[in-house]
Amino acid sequence: MIDIGLIGDLYVFVLAGFLGYQVISRVSPLLHTPLMSATNAISGISLVGSLVVAGAGYNEISTLLGFVAVTCSTINVVGGFLITDRILKMFRAAGSGPAPSGGSAKGAASGSK
């Protein structure tokens, strides 16, 4: 019937969903916008599947589709982490001085590779 790998995957999916529910419920409503850009960046993990398709040389069509997919996923990973950091930098408590404006996101750049 259904291969055992798929059942194992289903386990992971359901349990991760519960974990996600717990973790995300605790996110401060202040940070719902950066939450969306952060999950967006993390979902750029589709890059790992795209990399293989783009580089395994299955056939020309697959390579081309893989290339486009790598590009799209990279946009999400790089752009998502950069804008999340840009937003989070702006949040400051009273009395901690004005947030540094502009400049490049040092930490975020490490996710760009």
């Binding site: 967006n40 790089v78 930490g107």
Partner: protein, 457 residues
């Protein structure tokens, strides 16, 4: 790299992602959390680059360079007011990637696939394709490229549901005959079409829910891609992302007292053709900038209530200047923020943070509502439906039952607004005709500049 070693890399990444999201529970820990998530992503990517099947790095390198070249400007130079559109656009990129990889998998294996695997691919490509076009539509509506009000026609829900049923039927058919490329590609075409159709009837004011929902779909697509490629890290992140989008959609719906089905099928925000019934009933009271400044300057506590109008006129910095003036006079200043103010969850918080408002002055609805009776002056800047008392009083009003910011309990309410036009829900606001309400007509930014000047004197 050996397969089992790669899986260990992915496991570490998954842990780092979860820890990263946990950091978002407080602004203080958020950036450190994101650093962990970035590290996790870096590990996953390095691990995958060493995948044993990869023989040619040219296209990979090209994709990484091109993606970075597009992604960096999209993140660094976009104004904060445009973050909703950017978010919608990035959902569409992610979904497109998943959809294309699914198509490639089908193209490569086709008839050789078992019925379960082809079913998984079918669902993955369907979700990816409809999320792709749906998110593009949402981005278009948010950017104003497509008009924001709902586009409806007769039998719309019926035709949309028929298309959905047709896609599912095609996937089932594929499971019986995996080699039927015609069925597969018609399903893909229908999915692209469906994405457009199901966003058309949704109005701009419902965008916070729709963006969250598309976030959820993007996550599910990612998880489906993980199922297809038997890749656990993608299943985990997809599941996390999916539940995040789901929670946000529920929160947004609750903040509007609506159900998800109502948002998707209700075509809310179509301007009713009845003229405003309140018109002419009561006179409105207008005030000048000087009067408003006088009121604000002599009060003890002030609450600002921002809405999408503030974002449109980019008034957040000017609002903060007024607040600074008031604080220097010893007035307590706070901000009351409704969950659906703006175009995406948390939109107003980001704009105010951008204007250097400290986050401990930002209050959500539950925190601020009990404070209004002790508040001297509320200044409503560009918010409308979220402060409309009709939500509490008028049965049959489209927004009846929606929890609102109870600004009318304050001593005085100053509403800064361009004109008396109805809000995005197309409903007249009886707050404007209230005894305690003073209308300050004009562009939000301009009015705030004038207020600051008047307060200086």
């Amino acid at each position: 790299m050996r397969r089992d070693l790669l899986q260990l890399f992915y496991l570490v990444s998954a842990i780092l992602f979860v820890m990263g999201l946990r950091g978002l529970s407080h602004p203080k820990t958020a950036r450190r959390g994101m650093f962990l998530a970035e590290l996790g992503m870096l590990l996953a990517i390095i691990g995958s680059l060493l995948h044993h099947e990869i023989i040619d790095y040219r296209w990979i390198a090209a994709g990484l360079v091109l993606g970075t070249a597009i992604g960096v400007p999209m993140a660094m130079w976009i104004p904060m007011t445009a973050v909703p559109q950017r978010t919608a656009l990035s959902h569409s990129f992610g979904a497109l990637a998943a959809s294309l990889i699914g198509i490639s998998e089908y193209y490569r294996h086709g008839a050789a696939l078992g019925s379960v695997r082809v079913g998984v691919i079918g669902v993955e490509v369907m979700l990816g394709s409809l999320t792709f076009t749906g998110s593009l539509m949402a981005a278009g509506k948010l950017q104003g490229l497509i008009r924001g009000y709902p586009i409806t026609w007769r039998g719309q829900n019926f035709s949309n549901l028929s298309i959905l049923a047709a896609m599912l039927a095609l996937i089932v058919a594929l499971m019986f005959v995996p080699s039927s490329t015609a069925a597969f590609y018609s399903m893909v075409g229908l999915a692209f079409f469906f994405g457009v159709l199901f966003i058309l009837p949704i109005g701009a004011a419902d965008m916070p829910v729709v963006i969250a929902l598309l976030n959820s779909y993007a996550g599910l697509t990612d998880a489906a891609m993980g199922f297809m490629l038997d890749n656990k890290i993608q299943i985990i992140t997809g599941s996390l992302d999916g539940s995040s989008g789901f929670i946000l959609s529920i929160l947004m719906c609750r903040a509007m007292n609506r159900s998800i089905t109502n948002v998707l099928f209700g075509a809310f925000g179509k301007v009713q053709d009845k003229p405003a019934e309140l018109e002419g009933k009561k006179p409105i009271r207008q005030c000048s900038v000087e009067e408003a400044a006088e009121l604000l300057g002599t009060s003890r506590s002030v609450v600002f209530v921002p809405g999408y109008g503030m974002a449109v006129s980019q008034a957040q910095h000017r609002v903060r200047e007024v607040a600074d003036m008031l604080k220097s006079k010893g007035v307590q200043v706070r901000y009351g923020i409704h969950a659906v103010a703006g175009r995406m969850p948390g939109h107003m918080n980001v704009l105010l943070a951008e204007a250097n408002v400290p986050y401990d002055e930002l209050y959500d609805m539950d925190q601020i509502n009990s404070q209004f009776p002790e508040t001297d002056v509320v200044v409503v800047v560009g918010a409308n439906d979220v402060v409309n008392p009709a939500a509490k009083r008028i049965r049959g009003s489209p927004i009846y039952g929606m929890p609102i910011l109870e600004v009318e309990k304050a001593r005085v309410v100053i509403v800064c607004k361009r004109s008396l036009a109805a809000g995005f829900a197309g409903i007249d606001n009886e707050l404007y005709y209230g005894d305690k309400t003073l209308m300050l007509f004009g562009d939000a930014k301009e009015m705030m500049v004038k207020l600051t000047a008047a307060l200086k004197e």
